[in-house]
Subunit: 331 residues, 2 copies
């Protein structure tokens, strides 16, 4: 008797938050694996804002997920059968496992991960979100000691790592997040200032706090805050456009900043990037991030939901701000 795979496929394109009816959870019997193939059992899914973008039929850095295709998702799986010499039974592998419990693969796109830390921690600080933080801040933002770094979505998986690397690099760090619990956690992470956008006027708070201006803005959220920030940037400021979570699940066109001439006056730069361009430098990032983790310099939190049936709801948690830290789904 073969293995049964439960998988979520796309049935219709969501508008705004996803709904159960946009997907269908189906079961399929998998055949026996053939020469050079492996059977992978999904253990954990990394639930990331970018997945919402893949559900929309617009060109992006990866093609949109097509109707009837399994939902693309990063995660960790276990090799439970192998006829491929590169993998052996029991290996933990990282890659685009998708919203499914099992799969047969030729192993391409998967790398074996040494099990030195709990899997959720690896998917968080050492996963694509942590590596995004590393290259986005250091390569694109290029922080210098004493500079002021502002991070939006600061309690999120990428934002929290950005903020803490900026502290390690000797910067003055301001984080923006929503709600008491997230802000308290960020204070414990050692940020210099935390702005609660849900319980205050973030623009006004920023004016009060960032009195010596902003040198780097690491933007995870998009939306109207960018305009407020542009009014406060310093000479040669850098704005790292990492994500725009406020827009991914929104049915409205986002708001654009009306004061881009601030870039002229301050000779400033706004730049987008994708971690996929840094795949050949992953080891560098993982080595540094691991070191900081061991030294206790990077605090981290994972929000772990459970069960393949909860994929859609878990994705929505990112856009309603329910997740505390990296959103993970245990299968």
């Amino acid at each position: 008797m073969g293995i049964t795979n439960k998988k979520w496929i796309l049935k219709s394109r969501p508008k705004g938050l996803v709904e159960q009816s946009n997907f269908e959870l189906i079961e399929e019997n998998l055949p026996d694996i053939e020469e050079d193939q492996v059977l992978i059992q999904t253990e954990y899914l990394s639930v990331d804002p970018t997945q919402r973008m893949w559900l929309t039929d617009v060109p992006g850095y990866l093609p949109p997920i097509q109707i009837d295709e399994v939902i693309r998702s990063g995660g960790m799986g276990r090799i439970i059968q192998s006829k491929n010499e590169k993998f052996k039974e029991g290996d933990l592998v990282n890659g685009f496992v998708g919203w499914q419990t099992h799969q047969i693969s030729d192993g391409k796109g998967y790398r074996i991960v040494p099990e030195l830390l709990p899997i959720p921690t690896m998917l968080n600080v050492l996963g694509l979100t942590g590596v995004t933080a590393y290259f986005g801040l250091l390569d694109i933002g290029q922080p210098k000691e004493g500079e002021t770094v502002l991070v939006s979505g600061a309690a999120g998986a990428t934002g929290s790592v950005v903020a803490q690397i900026a502290k390690i690099k000797g910067c003055n760090v301001i984080g923006i997040a929503g709600g008491d619990e997230k802000c308290e956690w960020l204070n414990n992470c050692g940020l210099d200032h935390v702005i609660d956008y849900k319980n205050s006027n973030a623009r006004k708070e920023l004016q009060k706090i960032a009195t010596s201006g902003i040198d780097i803005y690491f933007d995870n959220v998009g939306g109207p805050l960018l305009e407020a920030v542009l009014f406060q940037i310093n000479l040669n400021a850098r704005i790292v456009i990492c994500g725009s979570i406020s827009n991914y699940a929104s049915e409205e066109m986002p708001v654009g900043p009306r004061n881009l001439s601030a870039l002229i006056i301050q000779r400033a730069r706004m730049e987008g990037f994708l971690v996929l361009d840094y795949l050949d430098r992953m080891d560098e990032a993982i080595q540094e991030l691991s070191k900081w983790l061991m030294e206790g310099k990077i605090q981290h939190r994972e929000d772990i939901q459970e069960g393949i049936e909860n994929c859609p709801e878990t994705l929505n948690r990112l856009f309603t701000g329910q997740n505390l830290g990296k959103q993970i789904l245990k299968i």
Copy 2:
């Protein structure tokens, strides 16, 4: 009997286009010059969009012009008396001469200019607008042979030089300008495509023409076009924010581009700059630009108005699109 200086001073801050009543033309008798001073007679004013920004009371890269101050303006003057060993009678000097016929100065901020070309040409291609084009395109835009360069305000003093340098560098160049006469001139300058935004839908034309995408957008105008361009940028595109003439004299808040996430998808960069940061490299630019002028590789046009009494109207010509080429006022 001393010399009489006629000068325009600021009386009230304009909204939108300037009006005669925002200024006052006054006469003053100048005293005799003292040791280390020179008497400068203004010959030509360089009339530039940035002047409109200086009339507004917002922080910029230079302080706003204050009420009762003479209007700041670049231009060329002649030394008609000198008690300063660095200048002699008859020297042509370049600097911020202001909207006035004469002035007494210690000579600081003025440089002597060899009179190898007609003065309006020097103020145009070899002046700050030409040098802005040079560094903005080459340093910030970094064009590579075969790339597609889009220039807005392409018939203007900066835009036309940008477009022609891009051609010299082997790029495919698209210019946007308003009206038959400007577009015809740009075609004669050798641009690959010219879009007349007054007689067509620039967004749609751009989609038709820039089929292989846009690598560099040199933005002289700001406003809604940027959003259209962002939908068409290529991987690693560079957007050079040079000016936003559509906003300087506008009473409304400008429109912001709502699709900045294109910067992420295309790993693209948007950067502002000011030619004032390149003053120590002026010689390099002037040498190169002079060479291209001599070789006939850069076409140029000056729109020369006359008379100190016409300063305000001449400034408005830039914002109503009346000027054909570099706007100059002969005093």
